[in-house]
Amino acid sequence: MLKEIWNSSYLLFILTKREVSARYRGTILGVIWSLLNPLLLFFTYYLVFDFIFSPKWAKVEPYALFLVSGLFPWLWLSSSLVDAAESLTRNAELVKKSNFPISVLPVMYVLSHMFHFLLALSLTYAIFIVFSLLGYLRFSPSLFLIPIPIMVQLIITVPLAISVALLQVFFKDVKDILVNLLNVLFFLSPILYPLDQSIFGSHKWVYVIISSNPFSYLFSIYHFVFFENFVNLKYIVLLVVTFVILSYAVAFVLYSKLSKVVVEVV
């Protein structure tokens, strides 16, 4: 499966490029939309959460920056998976009528959303710099560690994307399950709030639920990169590695069982 992706890396590159460029084809602003959209999001959150009501756990000024540091990775993850789920059924012609390496399709969506994410991320950095120049934030060396959570997220998203894409071909319910699961997961992940035991007060069980969500640690790493705190590094490595291994195991099994049959069913 990984070999198939590696062998068609040029194809993957070119398809990703097409996906990205086709998205903004015909628009006047083109790829600027990928910057404008997160910028608008940021200012909306800034207005709402820093002026109208600020959450009790908002240790960071501005809270909106904390929010988008987890939200943009989340958007990358969720939209990748939703698009990947339909990647094989939507490109059925391609799968049925050419010798197409099928694992390339879900990965293509992961990469094209990664492109949009990277633009949003650079915007986050720009905002961070602006606010640290204004004296709100302390510039920390951990900011240079950003490639780590990006790589971790990429490594985790690829097998998940392939798995949902393969399953979707056989069970049309997969996409609906996925969308609902993602809705729930959004609130059960430390995006609106940090992964910090103290904010849950006496409701320890909530913390247990949230910390058993494997994605929680991914967002903790992003938070760590930007704000150095809210993180319990001890568990993270172990848990992330376990999660990665598990998701690859699932993807490999599904791929070896289903990839040959996909062509006939899709």
Partner: protein, 414 residues
Amino acid sequence: MKIALEVRKVSKEYFYSHARLKAGNLKNLLLGRYRDCNARKEVLKKISFDLEWGSSIGIIGNNGSGKSTLLKIVGGILSPTDGYVRSYGKVVTLVDLGTGFHPEVSGRENILIASAILGLKRREVENKMEDIVKFAELDDFIDLPVKYYSAGMYLRLGFAIAVFSSPDILLVDEVLAVGDEYFQQKCIEHLERFIYEGKSLLFVSHSLDLVERLADKVLWLDSGEIKMFGEPRKVIDSYRSSAHCRYAKVENRKATATPNEQLRWGNRKAEIVSIKLFSEGKESYTLLVPTDAKVVAKVRSNEKLVDFVFGIAIRNSKGIEVWGSNTHLLSFRPLKFTGEGEVEITLKDLRLVEGRYFVDFAIHSKNGVAYDYWKEAVTFGVVNKERAVGVYVPKNSWRFEGGIEFEVANKSRG
């Protein structure tokens, strides 16, 4: 000759879609209901053949005989349930022209993508870009999004990409039938040169003329099995007569079992009891022309008639009357017609163009009152070795003088 492609005992079973439908929602999956729906259909049964370098094989057969499945298995798109395919060169499959074209991006970008799908590297594509554009004759359009392309342009681009992706073995599924005559000709010539250069071609087509022109051998698939494999002429002839037989049978049954009132009328003072077609001494509805044929009509009069005309007409599938005549036109003066009788019409040296024909037969009065007028009373097929268009093939010969030369165009086909 060296072998380019080996197909050995390839079988394919499809697990049918209602099994999928049942398993297709999670509830059934969780309840384990998918287990009991194991409907399957064997679409290919132990197919074996070799394709040699510098030669081509055409696959023919009725719809649903497994042609496309076979091609997809050879191309590696589908995997066989049993058996194997071994190829000794780069295989490129052309199942549908323009597969994977993205409507929003330009022709040039689509060339890059489609070539990458066919496994080309960036440098290779860049070298070939101009050739592809030139072959597809798209110079003015290549930088426009392909959604503005006409169907023909789409097709030309698709074909150009496939043939310039430097395949050693090209698999083509019924894509040449589309496009205008000119481009079709260009493609065929390109394929002929491709074979001449020592590459190999395996293709599926319903156009028997094309198969005859392009194939060195023909494989006739019938419900997943090889019915015949060998010399194009022989295989195509057998296929044609079987197809026509099948058609004639269906048509005859329809005509005699439930005589269509729209096609038969008259006051039945006299009746046609039956009509049969004979060729070379036996009843036959497929004529290998040139040949003699005999139409035999059993007739009966229900009262004593002194005014009667027997008429016959042959029409082709386009409705054009090939020939019509009757006893009045031939100046046979009727005397009497009572009880049963038989009309026998012999057609000598019938030289019709290949195709399907209908015989109308009628008994009527001199001034045209129909006793029994039966349109399409008999259907028959004509198989003609000589290729021609129109309705009638006269004995013909061609001679050239002066500075005209032809290569005798028969690739060991006789």
